[in-house]
């Protein structure tokens, strides 16, 4: 009996050692976007916590949509953690799209009291702030708004941020505006475009009211995963995404004006 117990323990230990030696991917903690269509495409089954991510707008006019998507990421990343969120942007905003608005954030589903807003004077200070914030482990997520064209945002700079995120286990998101993609070690990169909002329930289409926000979300790069794109809708009350099918996205109430096939939101880029 005793011998059997011993054998079982030894077998278990052997299996564990074998597992380690084979270099099998250890579980990397991640947070879920809460939508299986998206989460299963991502290499870690969600967005990896200890890593650098990038969000960009597809065009200058899509900055609002990209901000919305980014805030929904913040909400998802900080829902089970009680730590505050750091958002830092250079004091002279590169994109001139205004600053985060408390009442709007709370309507969107985020708690503005958790937000700490920093306004460094230069992009270099902004990078310093992000890195130090990651290393302090005082935040659930750290967001930096830096123009993707900024000369300080080099490959080496993103590597520093990635390293800081890795050692602290805190996710970092760079919001790079609408610039063309620069060199970066970010493990995921998202491009966001606006999409026409959902129909409002219980209202006749003739009234033409804007509904819940929808975005064309393109995962343009995912290390260890495939690029993909979706049409997502954000539900502020539930704090969750819902996927919208192509047909519904172009439903009859609003005829598609951009009817070119390439604009189809569900097309897989892979």
């Amino acid at each position: 009996m005793l011998q059997a117990e011993k054998n079982r323990v030894i077998a278990e230990l052997k299996a564990r050692i074998a597992n380690h030696e084979s270099g099998a991917e250890t579980e990397r903690p991640s947070f879920l976007l809460g939508l299986s269509e998206v989460d299963q495409v991502l290499p870690d089954g969600g967005l990896r916590l200890a890593a650098l991510h990038e969000v960009a707008a597809a065009a200058y006019r899509d900055m609002g949509a990209a901000t919305g998507f980014l805030i929904s990421l913040i909400i998802r990343a900080s829902r089970d953690v009680s730590l505050p969120v750091l958002w830092c942007e250079t004091a002279k905003p590169p994109f001139d799209m205004g600053r985060l608005y408390g009442p709007g954030l709370s309507a969107f589903g985020m708690e503005p009291e958790r937000l700490i807003h920093a306004f460094p004077a230069s992009d270099a200070d902004c990078l310093w702030t992000i890195e130090e914030a990651l290393r302090s482990r005082a935040f659930s997520i750290v967001v930096g708004e830096i123009d993707g064209r900024s000369p300080v945002l080099s490959l080496a700079a993103t590597r520093r941020l990635q390293l800081a995120a890795e050692t602290s286990g805190v996710p970092a998101v760079l919001f790079t505006g609408h610039a063309k993609e620069g060199a970066s070690v970010a493990i995921t990169r998202w491009r966001i475009a606006s999409a026409r909002s959902s129909p409002v329930p219980y209202v006749t289409p003739e009234e033409k009211l804007p509904g819940a926000p929808r975005w064309k979300v393109e995962l343009s790069r995912a290390r260890g995963g495939k690029p993909a794109s979706w049409l997502l809708e954000w539900n502020a009350m539930k704090g969750a995404f819902t996927a919208v099918s192509q047909a519904e996205g172009n439903d009859g109430a609003r005829p598609a004006l951009t009817a070119s096939p390439s604009a189809s939101p569900l097309r897989q880029i892979a």
Partner: protein, 531 residues
């Protein structure tokens, strides 16, 4: 009741002219030897206010008319008087004397019209320099390095020290406690800090020396010259108190270090800062106090003072943490940081403290997280400036740009920040009454847009913002927001619309003003961008 006070009065007898030389040297390096004088317009024309030794040997005197002086010494180089500059520079030196005592100030009373000295209250400080004689020697040495002639006296009252410094027989003198009356006995009455007119009048009456005034009936003198003579005498002899107000507010805790040689390397200065912080923290820990506001003074050999301030979100007496706040400031100054010819003294003053009881270090996660956050916010606020690290606080206002305010994050979570939830619930309730959801980004200023609407009071159909044309596909509104009449500003009523263009971009626009007779036509603005 005689106090135990000890005061140094410093007199710079050649102040304006020596400052002129310092300035010239700084500007041109080497200064050619020639007679120079400072001129100021006075009674009957421009007169010589001060002159150097060369001019003096040529016969130039203070108070002479400039043409007379020029006649005596044709090569005289004249400079206009700069009283404000003189005062400012003197104030600077007074601040630099903060190295000796925090109670240092420019002496407002000069021997002539302009201030020409500094007062230091060294009560309880002299021993730090090895006694009063050593302190005077130290002062002498340092002012020599600054190329300033100085006379100084230590006494128990500012008045007596003033008199001894300016009229005493020796350039450096110490008047022992209760020795003022005999020390001042033989000095001229002008030593009592009296107006030259009053001093002259007293001289004419035969009251030539201070001693002549001792024991004289006061009423006749007061009747003729006012209370001032008796008051100045009492002040000098210590019968009437005379406070010194320091330039900077008095501090509770202070630590200092002096060096024989000036430090010039940043690394050494940082090391010194760490050491002085350690000294201060030792005292703070003993007294169970934590620093909230600190000021670091770096005294340069050439008489300049570099001042750095740092604040903390929570009281702290950890030397490493506090030193790091200054290290970041020094690092940020980087190449701009100018140690001049070196730094030979450092003081660290604690401007604000709060009780800090020793805390049990818990291994609980939340406590560690709180400390992490506070430590980080301290460093960030000191590097970027406290008003650049903020939290948002809701405010009770319907005007969108007034519905929130920035609160310095160092102040921590204020109770009203928890009001965001209430704010949101209220807003959700009012949405039933036609209120619109708010955008996630608000422009700092509403931006004017060109709008075409189907009906004047309807939502926009097409609008142009930042040179891009947007065709509105869907819209919601209006939500009318009337100005806050109690503010009394002439704002107009706004009608807000939430619109979505054909590509799905959502904006927050408003029409300012109403369509009614006799008023300005309404105009359109874009105020926010939706997600």
């Amino acid at each position: 009741m005689r106090s135990e006070r000890r005061v140094v009065s410093l007199w710079l007898p050649f102040w304006p002219i020596e400052r002129l030389y310092r300035d010239l040297e700084r500007r041109h390096g080497k200064v050619a030897k020639r007679p120079r004088a400072i001129a100021r317009s006075g009674a009957g024309g421009v007169r010589i206010a001060a002159c150097d030794q060369l001019a003096k040997t040529a016969g130039v005197e203070q108070g002479q008319l400039v043409p007379d002086a020029m006649a005596l010494c044709p090569s005289l180089e004249l400079h206009p008087a700069d009283s404000d500059g003189d005062r400012e520079a003197l104030q600077h030196i007074a601040r630099w004397c903060g190295h000796y005592t925090p109670w240092a100030t420019m002496d407002p009373v000069g021997r002539d019209a302009e201030p020409d000295g500094i007062l230091l209250d060294i009560t309880g400080c002299a021993h730090l320099f090895g006694g009063e004689e050593a302190l005077l020697a130290n002062l002498h040495g340092r002012f020599n390095k600054l190329k300033l002639t100085v006379r100084a006296a230590i006494a128990s009252t500012p008045g007596a020290a003033w008199a001894m410094a300016r009229y005493g027989p020796h350039p450096f003198s110490i008047v022992q406690k209760d020795g003022e009356a005999s020390a001042l006995h033989d000095l001229p009455v002008a030593a009592l800090r009296l107006d030259s007119a009053i001093a002259d009048a007293l001289m004419r009456l035969g009251l030539k020396r201070t001693g002549d005034l001792y024991g004289k009936p006061r009423a006749p003198i007061a009747a003729r010259f006012g209370e001032v003579v008796a008051r100045r005498l009492d002040e000098a002899l210590g019968f009437e108190p005379e406070p010194i107000s320091p330039i900077s507010p008095p501090v509770l805790y202070r630590a200092q270090l002096s060096f024989a040689e000036g430090l010039t390397q940043l690394g050494h200065i940082e090391e010194a800062v760490l050491r002085v912080t350690g000294d201060l923290c030792e005292v703070l820990q003993r007294e169970q106090q934590g620093a909230r506001q600190l000021e670091l003074h770096l005294f340069r050999v050439d008489g300049e003072v570099v001042r750095l301030r740092a604040g903390t979100g929570r009281p702290s007496h950890e030397a490493e943490h506090l030193a790091r706040l200054f290290r970041e400031k020094l690092a940020q100054a980087g190449d701009d940081f100018d140690a001049g010819f070196g730094i030979d003294g450092i003081t660290l003053a604690c401007l604000a403290v709060e009780p800090l009881l020793p805390a049990q270090n818990s291994f609980g996660g939340s406590e560690v997280c709180r400390q992490n956050l506070e430590g980080f916010l301290d460093r960030l606020s000191n590097r970027l400036g406290p008003d650049r690290v903020v939290r948002l606080e809701p405010r009770a206002s319907h005007i969108p740009e007034r519905a929130f305010t920035d609160v310095v994050a160092l102040r921590g979570l204020t109770p009203s920040m928890r009001g965001w939830t209430m704010h949101r619930d209220q807003h959700r309730a009012s949405m039933l009454g036609g209120s619109l959801p708010r955008p996630v980004r608000l422009l700092p200023m509403p931006e004017a847009v060109d709008v075409i609407a189907e009906v004047p009071e309807g939502p926009p159909r097409i609008f142009r913002w930042r040179r891009i044309l947007h065709r509105v596909a869907r819209s919601e509104g209006p939500e009318r927001i009337t100005p806050e009449w109690w503010r009394g500003n002439r704002q107009r009523t706004r009608d807000y619309y939430r619109v979505e263009d054909e590509d799905g971009r959502r904006f927050w626009l408003f029409r300012e003003g109403l369509y009614c007779r006799g008023s300005e036509a309404p105009s359109w603005f874009l105020h926010g961008v939706y997600e």
